[in-house]
Symmetry: C2
Subunit: 144 residues, 2 copies
């Protein structure tokens, strides 16, 4: 327990929920003191809102839980490399760490600039990346 | 009427509302067929949510008005150069045009990458920039 794999598996459960709703399957959890304080999955189709990415849902839930808008003591787990919008939101909220799974060469923030995340945020990548990538592939194959 | 200055003045009215709430004074309006279909101002303190920037509020209101999540026929006006988060949100929603006022060398998207906005979006800058910059300056001087 309390490993990156453990929390990423919880983020993958969120991604599964998105998949079941026919949403691009991305999930996220926010962890503080080893506890999951917020969860989110992509809801852009359901809410008809491009800003409703998994991380944005999880961040907003975390602010609501903590009563503050900085996540300096938190780790944010997300199954896919954040897009620039989500990286920008993560910048503003300054989490201690971000852990993501699969890379997203097409839409990820690294395509634009590694400076989009806050310099004080540690970044760990590739955790359960295969599971996250397989889920994404299944989704897009099903839609073809 | 129907000029960039006219709509930017409406965005400045939104920024004034933010100022009155002791929020960083940024405002935004979304225009389709010469009509303002959505308005927003910065509410990060009020909502305790870093994602509650003026553009994000206006975009979400526009999606709700249009019942769609693409703003291909819209122009988005914002008093200040968007930050990377807002530029990323604007990317996803692909407005025909973005018009902004003052530059934001510290927190604007251009500091990171001009590719953050969608390549199909035309960008006009500097409209009523002095008014927007003066409002920002008054806000930060008041807080000192």
């Amino acid at each position: 327990m309390f490993t990156d794999e453990y929390y990423m598996r919880e983020a993958l459960k969120e991604a599964d929920k998105a998949f079941a709703r026919e949403e691009v399957p991305v999930g996220s959890v926010v962890v503080a003191n080893n506890m999951i304080i917020a969860r989110g999955h992509n809801l852009t189709e359901t809410l008809n809102d491009v800003t409703a990415h998994a991380e944005m849902q999880a961040l907003t839930a975390a602010f609501s839980h903590l009563g503050g808008k900085y996540l300096t003591d938190c780790t944010v787990y997300v199954t896919l490399e954040p897009c620039p919008m989500c990286a920008g939101a993560l910048f503003w909220t300054r989490p201690h760490r971000i852990v993501y799974g699969a890379h997203d060469p097409k839409n990820g923030y690294l395509k634009h600039s590694p400076t989009l995340l806050h310099p004080k945020t540690d970044v760990t990548t590739g955790v359960l990346a295969d599971e996250a990538a397989t889920l994404m592939r299944s989704f897009f194959e099903k839609r073809r």
